[in-house]
């Protein structure tokens, strides 16, 4: 990655709060308080605090500590793909 691209990516970065609606649509509940454990560095972070890159064809959520890609989401006209091999687990409170 060259520097310009790096700066551009940083400038366009938001956080998991920005995709809260999309996540809630997939999981049927608010996910911003759900804790994701990074499969790379084992750090826990609420999904609302993950680094989010949303200006591409899909969404990439990265670990705020090591920048490992925790999850990728792509929507096509007929399906939603959620790839989450970068997460060791998600931990959420049971639904009331």
């Amino acid at each position: 990655m060259d520097n310009d691209e790096g700066d551009m990516n940083t400038a366009l970065m938001v956080d998991g709060n920005a995709v809260a609606g999309q996540l809630e649509q997939i999981f049927g509940r608010d996910m911003t308080m759900t804790v994701a454990r990074c499969a790379g560095c084992a750090r826990d972070a609420p999904m609302g605090a993950l680094m989010a890159f949303i200006r591409g064809p899909g969404v990439v959520l990265r670990c705020p500590a090591c920048q490992n890609a925790i999850a990728r989401i792509v929507e096509t006209p007929t399906a939603i793909y959620l790839e989450a091999r970068g997460a060791a687990y998600l931990r959420m409170a049971p639904q009331p």
């Binding site: 940083t10 400038a11 366009l12 970065m13 938001v14 956080d15 998991g16 709060n17 920005a18 809260a20 609606g21 809630e24 649509q25 608010d30 911003t32 308080m33 609420p46 999904m47 609302g48 605090a49 680094m51």
Partner: protein, 246 residues
């Protein structure tokens, strides 16, 4: 049961210019639901050919304003959604929205304080919802806002913030200007750093509940400084904006 994910058509009832680049838009919502300060709504535009694009915008209004939703939006040149809101939408028009969304970057008086809000540019919007909620509840818990802007012309809600600071002994606002401080300005005139943060947080010390919203670099700097000060991480909530700059 009605879902926050259901799109509904809000009707624009009022537009108020805040700064050269930002306006506040008030919508009447047929299926209004009570929100928490700090949450946002998704806005969806659909082109005649079916192309859709969505953005999420922080709620500026307090939950006490029943039936209405106020969004304060910065106009991003080259943006897909904000120029439409700024330049095309007029009162009476409808806009597709869904919400309220998010459970991480939220505060209500039940969570308590003391409350330290740190904002850069239009990052002040969800913080304003928190302050408006606090005022509507007549809460007396101490609150401080540290607000970074390029110049005084870029300060959103200036009159309201100054009015609140005058009338409410438990609230103080601290401005910092990163490019052009007003003539005779004796306050802060640099980007928010650890020293500035240390001064503003001082009376609250480690008891502070902190909400930080702004461009990524500001959020990173503030969050790192707070961790250095050994604030409990669960009392620090952050929300990063995209390419807005302060």
């Amino acid at each position: 049961m009605q879902s926050v994910l259901e799109w509904q058509a809000g009707t624009l009832t009022a537009v108020r210019p805040e700064t050269k680049q930002t306006k506040s838009f008030t919508f009447a919502l047929p299926k209004w639901m009570v929100h928490k300060a700090g949450q946002h709504y998704d806005v969806r535009l659909t082109a005649p050919d079916g192309y859709q694009t969505e953005r999420s915008y922080s709620i500026a209004s307090p939950p006490e304003r029943v039936g209405e939703l106020e969004l304060t939006v910065e106009r991003i040149t080259d943006g897909e959604v904000s120029p439409y809101l700024h330049d095309v939408l007029v009162p009476g028009d409808q806009l597709e929205v869904r919400g309220p969304i998010g459970g991480y970057f939220v505060w209500d008086v039940a969570l308590g304080g003391p409350l330290l809000l740190v904002g850069g540019g239009s990052g002040v919007v969800p913080l304003m919802a928190m302050l408006r909620h606090r005022a509507a509840q007549h809460a007396t818990l101490p609150a401080r806002l540290l607000y970074s802007s390029r110049s005084v012309e870029d300060v959103i809600y200036r009159d309201e913030l100054d009015g609140l600071a005058r009338s409410d002994g438990a609230f103080e606002v601290f401005y910092t200007f990163t490019r052009q401080p007003p003539t005779g300005w004796t306050g802060y005139r640099r980007r928010i750093d650890a020293a500035m943060l240390g001064e503003v947080i001082k009376p609250f010390d480690k008891r502070a509940r902190v909400y930080v919203c702004g461009p990524t670099l500001l959020v990173e700097a503030v969050a790192n400084a707070l961790v250095q000060m050994q604030l409990p991480i669960e009392h620090i909530r952050t929300e990063r904006f995209g390419p807005t700059g302060t």
